[in-house]
Symmetry: C2
Subunit: 102 residues, 2 copies
DNA sequence: AAATCTTACGGGTGACGTAACGATC
DNA sequence: GATCGTTACGTCACCCGTAAGATTT
């Protein structure tokens, strides 16, 4: 399992479209499809229900989404707090590259 | 950033020793060292204070640890719930590989 | 037929291991 | 000098992109 794939999952859940999600994530549609298929394999269940042209979360998919949302929110907040504290405290040592925002 | 590296970070924080942590994580010490250095680079600060032979968390390291702990706990709980629900509901389709516990 | 998703396949990045070095007790 | 951590370097897995196929409207 992969942090980036979890972010893919969130974005796909938000848009409900592989095409749109892939465009927003700056990746190709096949890559997104493959990543989600892999995630489903790891979890042992379908996360999305593809009926015709529409893509919607399954009940388990929705359940998983809430966990991922909470988890990523906490993590991202923690990362940002640490980065700001590091910048604020002037702990950047000579030669240390100032990290880019993600 | 990487989920596995975050788990490395938690384990290293727990043991306070690269050698022991690497052994428990079933990786080599250099790999762990490199992963943690990379994590520190991404965050723009030191997470561990190496003084002599002892390795302890910096204040920012402790702060980050709490966030990572919370985040991973929620994620792991979510994963486990989904997997159990998937098994329980008998949603395993023919040809779908039953996932191994991690 | 057009649009969307999936499957197949090849390439490049990065994570890990081995080896060598540095440092501390 | 023995143990621990870091740096250097090579290899292999895996993530992503391109191309082709399947399916629905």
């Amino acid at each position: 399992m992969n942090l980036i794939h979890l972010r893919y999952f969130v974005e796909l859940s938000r848009t409900g479209s592989y095409t749109q999600a892939a465009r927003r994530l700056c990746i190709t549609q096949p890559s997104l499809s493959h990543a989600m298929a892999q995630l489903e394999e790891e979890l042992g269940t379908e996360l999305f229900r593809r009926q015709g042209r529409t893509t919607a979360l399954t009940p388990l998919g929705e359940q998983f989404l809430t966990s991922v949302h909470q988890s990523l929110d906490i993590l991202d907040r923690g990362i940002e707090e640490v980065r700001q504290a590091a910048r604020g405290a002037g702990l950047l040592r000579i030669g240390m590259v100032r990290p880019l925002a993600v």
